[in-house]
Amino acid sequence: MADINLQEVHDFMIEIARKVGERITSATPSTGAAGSKKNSVDLVTETDQAVEKILSTSLHEKYPTFSFMGEETYKPGDKLTDAPTFILDPIDGTTNFVHRNPYVAISLGLAINKSPTVGIVYNPFTQTLYSAIKSHGAYLTHFLTPQPQPQKLKLPLHPPTPLTPLSTCLIAIEWGSDRSANDFAVKSRTFTKLAAADGGMVHGLRSLGSAALNMCAVAAGEMDVYWEAGCWAWDVCAGWVVLGEAGGRVVDANPGGWEVGVDGRRYLAVRGGEGQEGVIREFWGLVEGRFEVGG
């Protein structure tokens, strides 16, 4: 396979994300015509579907030999292969989007040999961009600034402080769209355990509604840990590169799994800093049960 020009892929992804951003910010979203997926809270809008079509068409025109995995065109049974694959979520944070809550992002990733290699996470409402290429660092760019040039910052935003003990951590969690059975119970019991006085007594738990932006907040150092199960490769692929290049790492949300694939659907993301392994072990010690999702 010829060497892929990753910088070119990265730059093209940013270009199309910025262009399609306006489509998202000007939409008046409702779930009316598009509806819901597995239950009344797993939402999808016409904008999700339209944006994915625009992005996938542009990517396919420029890179016709690359594979593609997008949220709105995924079919159960589709598998991630070693081939260079664009992994894409047109609107991560659809529930926020439906409520006009501007914490949403376009998440564009490229995986090669199933490993996240290029990642772009772009919030079109705030015009903030997180971007990374493997081995080339991670950056946050603000396009809305009083200066003539966008402001570009290297991640993490501050020299990392030690991670341990877990009780000093701010942790991102999401309740998700699964609302019954084992995995919901694991989440709900673990959230309580993490925060309880007789549990982790962590600084706080934050639920903001976008997996991609959560990964990036952890990369930036604004939060310390993100624990998640049930979301998909397209929610995390791009943020994975950003986090890794900022010194962070991703392990399994279930205790003991030091390795997890981008399509594993169970993730414990931790920022860079001294004590990374220790804080992972401490976290795993508080998980109540095991997730079934991801197999």
């Binding site: 529930t95 007594m201 600084h203 639920s207």
Partner: protein, 291 residues
């Protein structure tokens, strides 16, 4: 007169914002208050001092009630009173997570008349004057009336709602048990006896939660245990955006600013707002917060 006071509060809020942006919380050693999750920084105290100094020199006959100078037993009086939270969302501030704000309000006869909430990290400034509407000015300088959607979508039931619930600093005891079990119940499927809300959001700042409900980005905020300075400004911003505030405990439609029990609902038809309040109260059954 109210407009001039609001303009002064906006100026002061922006000055407070500069202080917050300049601070480096990683070296700004924070002390604990009631426990390790209830923190205060030197910046909290410095901002409150700046706010109090400026307000008492411009409005010497008005009272001042601020988080960092409050003593248990202090009560809100009928006189015009400035109510100040220098940094709402101190934990977020310490971690550099940009959802934190200065909250400034004026009360008269124990009712909020003016509110200003400013998040310098995102550049969002929320402001309202009683009977004159609520507005959001963003980082681009654009000002929009609240709610953001001029014709709010129907608020038919909790099942359609995005609900804000915070975890709070109190992590044991009956209030903690109520909070955690209600979160679960709100999320749980209807088949299993829950409300199946769209989702729960925990942002870490009560003042901003009130403002997000005013904007319509969040439908409902249910909270017990925070304080008058956390909610006073957000309250008038929410009301001026068509929203309402009931008590977090069932049955009380007239909560007080100091009551520490708040159920904030976005603008919608009054029957719809009341419907959603009753639905949440019914889920609580006989249970109540005790603060």
């Amino acid at each position: 007169m109210l407009r001039k006071i609001k303009d002064d509060l906006v100026d002061i809020a922006r000055a407070a914002g500069e202080m917050m942006l300049d601070a480096d919380p990683s070296i700004d050693h924070s002390d604990t208050k009631k426990n390790s999750s209830d923190r205060v920084t030197a910046t909290d105290k410095a901002v409150e001092k700046m706010v109090q100094d400026r307000l008492t020199s411009t409005y010497p006959r008005f009272e001042f009630l601020g988080e960092e100078t409050f003593k248990l037993g202090d009560k809100l009086g009928n006189m015009p009173t400035f109510v100040c939270d220098p940094i709402d969302g101190t934990l977020n501030f310490i971690h550099g997570f940009p959802n934190t704000a200065v909250s400034l309000a004026l009360t008269i006869h124990k009712k909020p008349f003016i509110g200003v909430v400013y998040n310098p990290f995102r550049g969002d400034l929320f402001a309202a004057i009683k009977w004159q509407g609520a507005f959001l000015t963003t980082a681009t300088g654009e000002t929009r009336r609240l709610p953001i959607s001029p014709v709010p979508k129907p608020l038919t039931s909790l099942n359609d709602c995005l609900v804000a619930v915070e975890w709070g600093p109190q992590r044991e005891g009956p209030n903690w048990a109520l909070r955690t079990s209600m979160s679960q119940q709100l999320m749980t499927s209807k088949a299993a006896g829950g409300a199946m809300v769209h989702s729960i959001r925990s942002n870490g700042s009560a003042a901003l939660d009130f403002c997000y409900v005013a904007a319509g980005w969040i439908d409902v905020f249910w909270e017990g245990g925070c304080w008058i300075w956390d909610v006073c400004a957000g309250w008038i911003i929410l009301e001026e955006a068509g929203g309402m505030v009931a008590s977090a405990n069932p049955g009380d439609w007239e909560p007080t600013l100091e009551g520490r029990l708040y159920l904030a609902v976005r603008g919608a038809k009054p029957a719809e707002q009341k419907g959603v309040v009753k639905e949440l109260w019914d889920m609580m059954g006989e249970r109540k917060f005790a603060y």
